[in-house]
């Protein structure tokens, strides 16, 4: 609307004022829609996920490390060294 008025340059002053007011209202609406919550208590209650999550990652990675070492040992143990071709 605002651009329309600018482009046509024909709207009466009162209409232009109304348009500006409408634009301001639209902007306020956008900001109101995006209002977020503020619940500090959620931080504490979700620390559980941080603890369990970090623990789980360390456990999984530790298992993977163990598997890689085991794999290395097994591969070395079962690799038969072939005699070099003359």
């Amino acid at each position: 609307m605002f651009f329309k008025n600018l482009f046509l340059n024909a709207a009466p002053v009162t209409e232009a004022v109304e348009t500006v007011a409408e634009t301001a209202a639209e902007t306020a609406e956008v900001l109101a829609e995006s209002a977020f919550t503020f619940e500090p208590a959620n931080f504490v209650s979700n620390l559980y996920y941080m603890g369990v999550g970090m623990l789980a990652i360390f456990v999984v990675i530790a298992v993977i490390i163990g598997m890689v070492y085991a794999l290395d040992v097994l591969v070395k143990a079962f690799t038969v060294k072939l005699p070099k071709k003359q």
């Binding site: 605002f2 651009f3 329309k4 482009f7 634009t23 956008v30 900001l31 829609e33 995006s34 209002a35 977020f36 919550t37 503020f38 619940e39 500090p40 959620n42 931080f43 209650s45 979700n46 620390l47 996920y49 941080m50 369990v52 999550g53 970090m54 789980a56 990652i57 360390f58 999984v60 990675i61 530790a62 298992v63 993977i64 490390i65 598997m67 890689v68 070492y69 794999l71 290395d72 591969v75 070395k76 690799t79």
Partner: protein, 373 residues
């Protein structure tokens, strides 16, 4: 005559702001060389979808939906996570797990560097519902495809800002990480040398590794098995030795093709009404926070280990435990050289960096396990 300017009359100040954002992304891609493969398509797409009545995205006219190409691509490739998963095949084919397999202990830093994700989850839950908070936290993984998959599966309403933040911060690794590392380490610590003992890794180990990782990750976090599986499938193609042409295709053609579609399709979510709000700023801030705390988590964990170890670790390598591969590993190596020109940390930092790739996918899977209905 009116038909010529009818669309111009639909202009809104928000479109102009989005054009400016698109322009900044294109500028960063071209002038600053920051993740140009993604930021350029996203930047151009942002302008494309923020034209009044843009035919690139689905528009409703008289109650009838007229499908736009980008919206169709979004439904076909992102809302079902297909593009990020296929991209993971290419990424897997690009990764050499050799440095990690020759020193598996390094993987522990990949785990430590996921701290920022979980800490940010707690912080973001103050402002957002838990599914959105978890999706925002995963930005800290510095892993675009994982961020897309997690945000999609958790039905986050903030997919667009999350994707943009994830890819932008990946590009900003050289700017974000060094100050955090310097803040948390002393000059003496940064000068710790870590001689690299090259160790041969058998072909069998290289082949079995992706299979084992898939099985373990699949058992622990079944929701992430597609992510891990596609990544490891790509790596298996690379390591098996009999599919060289497929490996090359996955690394180059496939990855490039998907990247083109991914970038421009992400932009379909960058419409002004979805993007321009206070939440976006908050998400960008929380994403940066996650990134910083991931870096800090890795560095502090290395410092903690040094309290007990005879042979000290350069704590900077802990910072490479994020998924931004290989930028983060290279940054650490470069910082090591700046402190001591004879200190070559590259093999260690790259090893930690690839472990960060695996750990971030597992972190994504765990988050899905926690919160997916």
């Amino acid at each position: 005559m009116e038909i010529l300017y009818e669309n111009l009359l639909q202009m809104d100040w928000r479109y102009l702001v989005m054009w400016a954002i698109g322009g900044i992304l294109i500028y960063l891609a071209i002038k600053k060389d920051m993740e140009p493969t993604l930021l350029l398509p996203i930047g151009f797409g942002t302008i494309l979808v923020n034209l009044p009545n843009s035919g690139a995205i689905t528009q409703i006219h008289n109650g009838v939906a007229e499908p736009g190409a980008l919206s169709v691509l979004f439904d076909a490739g992102i809302s079902n996570e297909l593009f990020p998963l296929i991209l993971f095949i290419g990424i897997g084919a690009m990764i050499d797990f050799g440095p990690l397999l020759s020193n598996p202990k390094l993987m522990i830093f990949g785990a430590a560097a996921q701290f920022g994700i979980f800490f940010t989850l707690c912080l973001a839950s103050i402002f957002f519902d838990i599914n959105d908070a978890a999706s925002i936290a995963i930005i800290g993984a510095a892993d675009g495809p994982t961020a897309i998959v997690v945000a999609n599966k958790l039905n986050s309403q903030f997919l667009a800002p999350i994707m943009v933040a994830a890819y932008s911060y990946m590009a900003l690794v050289p700017i974000i990480q060094p100050p955090v590392i310097k803040l948390l380490t002393t000059k003496k610590e940064r000068q710790i040398r870590m001689p690299y003992e090259a160790k041969e890794v058998s072909k069998l180990t290289r082949i079995l590794f992706p299979i084992i990782i898939t099985v373990i990750a699949g058992i622990v976090a079944p929701a992430s098995v597609a992510l891990v599986g596609f990544l490891m499938f790509g790596n298996l193609i690379r390591e098996c030795g009999v599919l060289n042409s497929l490996s090359e295709t996955a690394q180059k053609v496939l990855a490039n093709l998907i990247t083109i579609f991914l970038g421009i399709t992400i932009a379909s979510q960058m419409s002004a009404d979805k993007f321009l709000n206070v939440n976006t700023l908050l998400i960008l801030g929380l994403g940066l926070f996650a990134f910083i705390f991931d870096t800090a988590g890795g560095v502090l964990f290395a410092k903690f280990l040094n309290l007990f170890m005879k042979k000290k670790i350069n704590p900077m390598i802990g910072a490479a435990g994020i998924s931004a591969f290989p930028m983060s590993g290279r940054i650490v190596h470069k910082m090591g050289l700046e402190e001591d020109p004879q200190n070559f940390l590259l093999m260690h930092s790259i090893g930690v960096n690839v472990s960060g790739q695996i750990a971030s996918v597992i972190a994504g899977g765990l988050i899905l396990n926690f919160f997916m209905a």
